[in-house]
Symmetry: none
Subunit: 193 residues, 4 copies
Amino acid sequence: MAKRSGEKHQVILDAAVKTFARTGYHRTRISDIAGEAGVADGTVYIYFDNKEDILISLFQNLMNRFVEELRAELAQCHDANVKLETIIDYHLRTLASKPDQARVTQIELRQIDQDINEGISKPLLCYFQLIEEVIEEGKKQALYRQELNTRTARKVVFGAIDEVVTCWVMSSKPYPLAELKKPVFDLLVRGLQ
Amino acid sequence: MAKRSGEKHQVILDAAVKTFARTGYHRTRISDIAGEAGVADGTVYIYFDNKEDILISLFQNLMNRFVEELRAELAQCHDANVKLETIIDYHLRTLASKPDQARVTQIELRQIDQDINEGISKPLLCYFQLIEEVIEEGKKQALYRQELNTRTARKVVFGAIDEVVTCWVMSSKPYPLAELKKPVFDLLVRGLQ
Amino acid sequence: MAKRSGEKHQVILDAAVKTFARTGYHRTRISDIAGEAGVADGTVYIYFDNKEDILISLFQNLMNRFVEELRAELAQCHDANVKLETIIDYHLRTLASKPDQARVTQIELRQIDQDINEGISKPLLCYFQLIEEVIEEGKKQALYRQELNTRTARKVVFGAIDEVVTCWVMSSKPYPLAELKKPVFDLLVRGLQ
Amino acid sequence: MAKRSGEKHQVILDAAVKTFARTGYHRTRISDIAGEAGVADGTVYIYFDNKEDILISLFQNLMNRFVEELRAELAQCHDANVKLETIIDYHLRTLASKPDQARVTQIELRQIDQDINEGISKPLLCYFQLIEEVIEEGKKQALYRQELNTRTARKVVFGAIDEVVTCWVMSSKPYPLAELKKPVFDLLVRGLQ
DNA sequence: GATGAATGAGAGTTCATTCAT
DNA sequence: AATGAATGAACTCTCATTCAT
C-alpha cells in the first residue's frame, strides 16, 4: 500500500514529471526517477505501487488542481461565452506555463491503456463535465443553438483545445501558446451559436 | 534492410493490426504477431526492422491509402463546404468500418515518441495539408472568414474529428460513429464562416 | 549482540511461530512478524540477529523444554519399554497439542542449511541422545537384542515418529495423532526385541 | 509453456542437481544453473517455468525412474520379506550411488511448500503405495500381523529409511550407507511380524 | 529501548532480436 | 526465403537490515 502524503511523495512526483518529460514514460526507469529525486530505488515503492501508479498519481494531482482552479475562475463569470473563453484561456495558459507537465499530459499519459484505467478517465470526466455544463448554460442563455448536441459539442471543444496544445508540445520551434486563445475561441463560439 | 513487399508482408501487417488492437502495442510480443500471421518469429524480421517499424508501416499504409482515397473523393466536389463535409464523412466512415485500425490509430500509435518519428508525422502532415488546402479554398471562395488563421483552423478541425473518433473507440457501448458527421460538420462550418 | 530475554523477546517468538506456521518461513517477512507481535520492524533486531536466528531460537526454545520435560517424565519409569512408550507418547502428544509448533518443527525448520547450523543440530542431538540412552538401557535390561546397533536403531525410532508427525501435519483432513502411539510403539518395540 | 524434452532439457536438469547439491536451493541463482549448463539464462526459461519447476521436474524424473526400476526388481521376488529387503536395499543403494541427487531429495526438496505442491506429493505417493502393497502382501502371506495398520506401518518403514538416508547425507564423515540395509531390515521386519 | 522510514543489493523473468540450419 | 531455438541485456520489485530520532 502506497502512502499518499509526505514530503518525499511530492519530491518523487516532481522528479517523475521532469524525467517523464525528458526521457518519455516507457524509457524512464524507476532508478532514473529515484536518482532525480535523490532517494533510493526502494523508496519509490514506499510511496507508489509501480511506475504506472506514479504517472496516474501525477495526472490526478494535476487534473484535480486544474479542475478546482478552473471552477473557481468560472464562478466569477456568468455569461456562457465568457466562461468558454475562460476555459480556453485557462487551459492554454496553465499548460503553457508548465511545459514538463504539458508534455506528460499530452504525450506520456497516452502511453497507458486508457480504457481500462479509471485513474485517468475519472479526473478527465470531471473536466468534460465542466465543459458540458458551460455549453448547457449557453443554451439556456439562448447564446447557443438549442438543437446543439451537448456531448458532441463538448468533444469538438475539448478536441480542438487538446490538439492545439499537442501541436505546441510537439513543435520543434517554441511559440506563444496563449496567443491561440482568441482564434480558437472565435472559431468555437461561432460554431456553437 | 527489410523487405517492403511480398505476400507475407501484408499477412504480417494484418496480423499486427489485429493483435495490437486486441492486446495493445506494448503488451504485444513479436511472437504473438508471428503466431497470428502463421509465420515464424524470425520471418517477421525479414520484412520489418523491428517492432516499432511494424506499427509505423501499418500507419503509413493506412494513411497513404486514406489520403489518396480522400483526395479522389475531394476531386469530385468544388464547394469548400462540401469538401469539408466530405473530409468529416470520409474520416468517420473509414474508421467506423475498421474498428481494429481505428483502435491502432487512436490509441496504440500514440505509444511511440511521435516527435522523433517522422514515419508517423509525415503521413499525418499530408492529411493536415489536405485540410488546410480546403480551408484556404473556402477563404478564396469567400465562404470562410478572411482573417481566419488557416493553421489554427486546421488544428481545430482535426482535433474535433480526432476526439470524436477517440471517444468512440474508447466507449464501452458501441454506437454509430457516422451519425456524428452532421453535428460536427455544422459546428465546424459555422466556426469557419 | 541480540538481547536474549525480556517480555518482548517472547512476544516476538510467539508471533513468529504463528506467522511461520501460517505463511511459511521463506514467505514470511520480518514486518509480518513485527506486525503480529505489535512491535516495530526494528525492534525485532534488538532481540534477534536476523530472520534465521528467530527460527533457530524458536526451535531451541521448543527443544530445550521438550527434552527437559521428557527427561522428567522418563525419570519416573524404569522399564525401557515403558520409557520408549513414554517417548512416543510424549512426542506425539506434545506436537498434537501445538499444531503451529508442529508445523514449524516438521516443515519450516527444514528450510535452513541444517548441516552448517549447529543451532539446530545441537538441541536435536540432545533428543537423539535421549533415545539412544533408552535403547542402551533396554539392551542392558535384556529387553532388546544385544547385537542391535544403537545408533541405527535410534534413527529408525526417530524416523518413524518423525514421519508419522509429518504426515499428520501435511494431512488435509485432521485426525487424532495421539492414537497412533500404540501401533507405532508395537512396531518399534518388536523391532528392537 | 515449458518443453519437457530435448537435449538441453536434460543438460539443465543435470546442472541443477549439481548446483542445488553444492549451493542449496535458495542460494542457487538461475544464472548459476545456466552457467553450469553452459547455456544462457533465458534458455532455462524455454525449458522450465521457473526455479521451483526445475526442482520439481528433477524430483519427478528421479522418482518416476526410482519407482519404475524398483517395481521391476520387486517383480522378481515373491516373498514379502524379500520384497521389503529389496525396497530397503534399492532405496539405500540408489541414493548412495548418487550423492548429489540424495542431497537434493533429502534436503533441498523440503524447501518447497510440499502440502500445496502435488508435483512433489504425487510421485511420492506412488512410492508409498508400493510400500503399502508389500506390507499388504506380507499380511496375506501370514508373514506380518493381521492387526497391523498398513498405513501406519508404511509411515514407520518409510520414515526409518528416510531418516537413515538423511543422517548419511548430513554426516560430515562419509560412511557406506548400503551397510545399514541389514540392521534396518532386521528391525523393521521384526516390527511387522 | 523503541521506532519505522529509508536503504540498495539482488534475483527472477521477459522478450526483442539474431543466426545457424 | 523461412525457421525457431537460443541469446542476454534490461528492468522491475522485494525485503532484510540499518540508524537517526
